[in-house]
């Protein structure tokens, strides 16, 4: 070519892009339903609900520094839904157990059982009044804050309210449906 002007946006370029767009639209139309099909549907009977939990010791009877462990019911198969998360935990993540706690200052908490480092179930250290993680040695105060790493964030709370009798609490959760 004699002149060295850069190519402008020609009619051919326009038609080329037009056809390329049509082809892309065709492919997307064909693949779209497949992607929708692949998106997991909730299991039949799966629903978010408040789960009543029986505690080994009534919340009101806990003395400061006490904690009781509880598990998610297995029939129907259920889990608790974390309220705030932090670290490996996130709001909406599922927990299959928790602790009802009265900390040394007398405040009550209900925590999801998962450590904020990598999700291992923490255990109560009754002697030191801490929650200790068996996996990598993270430790938490009874109010959920970190005492010792590698946990990067406090324990996740579970949303709860008192149940019908003193020994029960009602915790936000989900019936899994399988």
């Amino acid at each position: 070519m004699a002149d060295s002007k850069p190519r402008s946006f020609t009619r051919r370029t326009f038609i080329g892009w037009w056809i390329a767009s049509l082809l892309t639209a065709t492919v997307v139309t064909a693949l779209g339903p497949i992607l929708i099909f692949l998106w997991p549907a909730p299991a039949k009977g799966q629903k978010k609900t408040a789960i009543p939990v029986n505690l080994a010791k009534a919340m009101a009877d806990l003395s400061p520094g006490d904690a009781v462990k509880f598990d998610a019911p297995t029939s129907p198969n259920s889990a608790f839904v974390m309220a705030n998360g932090g670290g490996d935990n996130a709001p909406g993540d599922l927990a299959f157990g928790g602790f009802a706690v009265k900390d040394q200052k007398g405040a009550t908490h209900v925590f999801a059982i998962n450590c904020s480092h990598l999700g291992c179930p923490i255990g109560l250290n009754a002697k030191d009044k801490t929650f200790d993680c068996p996996c990598h040695g993270s430790r938490f105060h009874l109010d959920g804050t970190v005492l010792h790493g590698p946990a990067p964030a406090p324990l996740s709370d579970l949303s709860w309210k008192p149940g019908d009798n003193p020994n029960t609490i009602v915790v936000d959760g989900i019936v899994l449906g399988f």
Partner: protein
Amino acid sequence: MAIPHPRDIQMAVVDWLDARYPFTKAVDEALYQRVPNFANAFYYCFGGMVFILIAVQLLTGILLALYYVPDAGGNPAPAYTSVNFIQNSVYLGWLIRGTHFWGANLLIIMVILHMARVYWTGSYRAPRELNWMVGVIMLLLILAFSLTGYLLPWDTKAYFATEVTIKLAGSLPPVQLGTFIKEILQGGAVVGPPTLQRFFTIHVFLLPALIVLLMYVHFRFIRAHGISEPM
């Protein structure tokens, strides 16, 4: 910067590939075959439509396998409830399963039409007899697909239809042979969970592998012989 034509992008990709392996040459050899004028009649398309339908069946079948549970134990059996789940709960599950179902029905029709066309135009004549034989085997494979697939929803219709077909196969004399065939198909004394396991395995592992292999053979024969001239 000048806006490139999509073809420029395409050429950049193709050139990169071609510098490493002669893809263009291989694709050209596969695609650029002259179609004789007599083969432009619509009834020469039936074979290609069978191919497309089989491709659709393979795709939708793989998708269904993501949710289907081949387990006939218990009541209701997971096989039944999983099909129910696909149909009513999985997003667009009714569409994918419906495509698989109607694709299977259409496939039989198109296979018969394709076979009728080959017969009508005399395309089975020498030297193409082997391809006819391969085609007949594939027809039987398609029918086996239909038979085994029919049981998988594990509903009453599926169960008793299979009961009937197995009874037919088992009526072959002498009695000992019939009973042997029946028990091999059923995987036991009655149509039950082992039957579903067998039919499922045949439907999703054995038959797809065989049909893909035979389709390849079928097409290589076509390429070797060319499309048969009209009589």
